[in-house]
Structure formats: structure tokens, C-alpha cells
Amino acid sequence: MAHDRPPPYRDGVDHDLPLPGGPGSNTPAIATRRLSKRFSGRFSRGPASGHGSLALDELDLEVHAGEVFGFLGPNGAGKTTTIRLLLDLIRPTSGSATVLGLDPRRDGVALRARIGYLPGDVNLPPRLTGRAYLADHAAIRGLDLRSATGDLADRLGADLDRPMGDLSLGNRRKVAMIAAFAHRPQLLVLDEPTGGLDPLVQQTFRSLAREAADEGRTVFLSSHVLDEVQHVADRVAVLRAGRLVAEDRIDALLARLTRTFRVRFGDAPSLDQFGRVSAVTSVSVLPGGDLEFVLDGPAGPLLAALAPLHPLDLHGHEPDLEELFLGYYGATHVGRDELNASAPIAADRTEAVTA
């Protein structure tokens, strides 16, 4: 068996041999070609079409070695399906994937020695302690990871000595995160990594991901929340209904993003006067009299226009994936009902004036 050979690196010390997809290599860390997956019958998810449902539709993706790649999309878009294909948990209906230059099925054991995976649904044996669980993983990998495990547990504040069934979701996720990072894999595949984590731990996670990339390792980060990836990713791809709809550098994507501000006034001004303010794409009146402005450019002109009107309060909120889609394609191209995104849709909008 392949893993009877000595592992390519021991105890976190990166090997010197240039491996495909490794640091200094031109081989992409992940390359998919027309990768498709159709689920049949009762296993089907997502919109049905023909026999079963097409969860992934001819995905062409290239993730470079050493980058942090954000893989975005609403729930059910096919992100987890893609990850499960890359890890050979499921097999493609058609198309192919190469991970670190290897075939996920044929070279599965050798490949998985170089991957760290954090699942979106963290299922851990409830009666086992984190320490015993991580020791099993290290033993299967043939590595001594005790010091790496201890360091990560300190940084994340993980409790490794209680049965994992007694831990909160956030604390179980910390154990799973240690399992993914401890062996310093060439490729980290992280599925919705920060759900259930407090902001401090999320910050630690971002540092870990960034450090991995700085060492030339690749991070593949899947999320349905833009906020989770925008501070750490170099490039992002956006998936919707099994299809790749955008792939770009994160700064380019954010530049096209619209932002929303809510403003409260003592006396509500007329909407007309905002029609010609630069970068304002729409203004609407919310119940209660607040105004909501959508901007696709610098905020200065709007603030200048607002100042003489004596606003009482100004509130901007984080752009979400839905707005990302809207910014990319306009509301007419992406129906809201199709966007099963996590962020609540402002259903309380009563009137809209398009500038």
C-alpha cells in the first residue's frame, strides 16, 4: 500500500522534494475540467433536472499553489459536492479533477496524506476525547503530531481532555480544525470553517490560513458568507446552482460590490434630491421613515449630500453574498427566490426609486 512508504514529510517539517502542486511548482493545487455530479433518486438535492439532480455542472476551476482561494456560493450551490469530489468521497458523473497533480481516486491514499480537511458538518465520536481522536489521526498518518497539536490547541483555546460529545459546536470545530492543520498539509480544504466560532477564534483561524499560504501551502476555503473569506482570500470563485458564475481576485470583486447605508432623519427629506448623487444606484424608504441607499462607488458624494439634511444616525451593513450577486449581474439576472443565501433579504422595502 502506498502509505506503507515513509510519508513525504514528518512532524510538520516540509520535505525538500518539489511535489506537484507544492511550493515552487507550476502545477495547480486543484484543477477541475468539466467536473459534473448528478445525484440520482432519493439522494437528490438541488433543482431536479432530468434523471436525478445536477449538483455540479461542468465546473472548470483552477486553484494555484500557495494561494488562499475562496469558494463562495449560497447553500446548496454545490460547494460541498465539489469538495467531496476532490477528496474522493464521491465520484464524478463526468469530467475530471486533479489535486496536487494527483488523481483523487487512483492516488487517493498518497493524495490524502497531503491534504487537511475541515468538514462543514463536524461529526466527531462523542465518547472520545479530542486528544485521543487527534492521536488516532496522527497514527493513521504515521506522524508524531503531539507538539503541533498542543501548539494549535493553545492558540485556539481547544479543550482536548473532555469527551467531544460534551463540547459545544465551536469547541468541536476547534478539534476538527486542529485535525486539519496539525500535519501542515500542502492543501487545506476548509468547508464553512468559522461557523459557531467566536470572533477571537475566527481571527486566529484567519491567521492560521494566512500563515499556511505564506509558507507556500494552498488554502481552499468554502463559504456561503462573503465576510468569512474576504479578509483572507486572494481569489474567489462564485458558484450558483452547480455552475461557476464568477472567478476573480477578491479586491476586484469587492470593488464591484454595492454597499448599503441606512440613514435616520428627524424630518424625512424628499427622495428626489438624491437622484443625481454620484454612485447612488437606488434609494428606498423603509417602514419607520429611514432611508436606505445602495452605492456602487465612493461614499463621499452621498455623505456631502446628506450632511445639510441633519441625519440622526447612519448605519452601514456588511455586504452579503446576495448583494455580491446583485452587484455582479443586477437583480434581473439573479432572481431573489433562486438565491437561497444566508443573509436575510430586506423584505420590508416599500418603495424604490432607481437613480
Binding site: M1, A2, H3, D4, P7, F43, T80, R84, L87, D88, L89, I90, R91, G108, V109, A110, R112, A113, I115, Y117, P119, D121, N123, L124, P125, R127, L128, D136, H137, A139, I140, R141, G142, A176, A179
Partner: protein, 269 residues
């Protein structure tokens, strides 16, 4: 070769092993404890059994010209024909189906992303089931030998050893089918059902065939209980060649399970 998965299953099954060991011991001791009073009433019971139809007697594990009131007949009918296989099968089928159960609960997902092949995982988990069921059969054997001594149930140790070997390979053959079904479908409930149905159907086929019912005699070679043939084993004190059929069945289902798990999508929890 560090067999992490194998050792983990054994460690996780420690309480299971203790619980089943106690259960099997109690069952064996209670059944054998009735031997003295049974022996003393053998004349009356003989009359009663003589009036029973042959098929009913076969169901109780009597026949083949072995006197049911002899020590061998008693040990066969009270321990090895039904009770011991039933307990071991319930324990073993549950253990063999647990891999599918872990898959359903999403616990296998991360294991399958480690550098271990699916086939290797199946083999290690199956090896643990093989060892655990053999250990339970060993506990049953010790309980049988000790309590038989205590009540002067005069059966040779060789007979009891080979009967226990028989019940072990019988368990492997049936649980192997559970393992295969679980590996093929990833469904714990289905794995248990298929193995249990095969066990019960086999028991009925062999019993009714022993009773001379034609259609069941045709089916008899398909039944695992036919190859188990424990009454003859106890009487002769040597193993029948048919044990090898059970070993082969276990080997084939294991190989089939390895093949099956490698050719499908794993289930998402």
C-alpha cells in the same frame, strides 16, 4: 501497519464486550443448571417428546438418532442449537453493521479523508468484529465447560471446543453478509435486516429439512445452519468439513465488502 482503526474499534467495544460476556455466561449457566432435574424426569419427558411430530422435534435441535436426553442431546438443544448462535449473531450483526451506522452518522467522512484506503478501513473494522465475536464464543465455551462440570453434564471438552468453533464460523459467515450489505449500501438498518433474515431463514430451512420436509431438503445446502451441523459435531467430538463452507462464506463476503465500498459514493450525513 499500525492498525489504528482496528485498535480503536476494540477499545470502543470494551463495555460492549463485557456486557455481552455477562449475558452469554448467565444464559449458558442458567440453561445447563437444569440438567440434573431434566435428567431425573427423562422418562416422562421422553413420552412427551415421542408424541411430538418429527418437525417440531427438529426445531428443538433433536434428531439424527441422538437421544435428546443424553448429555450431548441436552447440550445441543439447550445451548448450541439456538441460544448460543442467537446471542452471538445478535452481537456480531450489530457490530458488523456499525460501520454503516458510522457512515450514516457522518463519523466516517473524516476517516475517509485520511491516508487510508476504503478497503483497508473495511478490513480493519471487520478484523475487529472477527476478534470480538471469537472472544465472545470463547467466553461462552468457558461458561459451558465450567457449568457442565458443575452439574455432571458429561460431554467431552473436544466436543464443546469444536461446537464453539462452529458457532464462531457460523457467526462470521452471517455477520460477513451484514458487513457486505453495509459496505454496499451504507445503511445500517438494511445491513442488520439482511443478515438477520438470512440467519432466521437458514435456521428454519435446516430444522424443517431435518424433519424430512421435501422442499426444505432441496434448499438445505443454502442454509448456514446446515453447515454448522452442531449435533453431529458434539456427538463426534471432531469438526465437520462443512465448517470450511462457513469460513469460505465469510471470506467471500469480506472480499465483496471491500469491492463494494470502493465502487460507490459515500453517503452524506
Amino acid at each position: 501497519m499500525n492498525a489504528v482503526v482496528f485498535r480503536r474499534v476494540l477499545a470502543d467495544r470494551r463495555r460492549w464486550l463485557i456486557g455481552w460476556s455477562i449475558g452469554i455466561t448467565v444464559f449458558v449457566v442458567l440453561n445447563i443448571a437444569f440438567w440434573p432435574s431434566f435428567r431425573d424426569q427423562s422418562d416422562e419427558l421422553n413420552d412427551m417428546f415421542d408424541k411430538m411430530p418429527e418437525s417440531l422435534r427438529a426445531l428443538f435441535g433433536m434428531g439424527d438418532g441422538v437421544d435428546p436426553f443424553s448429555p450431548v442431546g441436552y447440550l445441543s438443544s439447550q445451548v448450541y442449537t439456538l441460544a448460543m448462535p442467537m446471542l452471538l449473531l445478535i452481537a456480531g450483526i450489530g457490530a458488523a453493521a456499525s460501520m454503516a451506522g458510522d457512515e450514516e452518522n457522518g463519523l466516517l467522512e473524516t476517516v475517509f479523508t485520511l491516508p487510508i484506503s476504503r478497503g483497508r478501513l473495511v478490513l480493519e473494522r471487520w478484523a475487529a468484529v472477527v476478534v470480538l465475536t471469537a472472544a465472545l464464543a470463547g467466553v461462552g465455551l468457558v461458561a459451558t465447560v465450567v457449568s457442565a462440570r458443575a452439574v455432571d453434564l458429561d460431554v467431552g471438552i473436544g466436543s464443546m471446543v469444536w461446537a464453539s468453533v462452529g458457532v464462531t464460523v457460523l457467526t462470521w459467515a452471517v455477520t460477513g453478509l451484514g458487513l457486505f450489505t453495509g459496505a454496499l449500501t451504507g445503511r445500517r438498518g438494511l445491513a442488520i435486516t439482511v443478515a438477520a433474515v438470512v440467519a432466521v431463514a437458514s435456521y428454519l430451512i435446516t430444522s424443517l429439512a431435518d424433519a424430512g420436509i421435501g422442499v426444505f431438503e432441496t434448499l438445505e445446502p443454502l442454509s448456514v445452519f446446515t453447515h454448522y451441523d452442531v449435533l453431529a459435531t458434539l456427538a463426534a467430538g471432531t469438526p465437520p468439513w462443512s465448517f470450511l463452507v462457513l469460513v469460505a462464506a465469510a471470506a467471500i463476503t469480506t472480499a465483496a465488502a471491500r469491492w463494494a465500498i470502493d465502487r460507490r459514493d459515500l453517503r452524506n450525513a
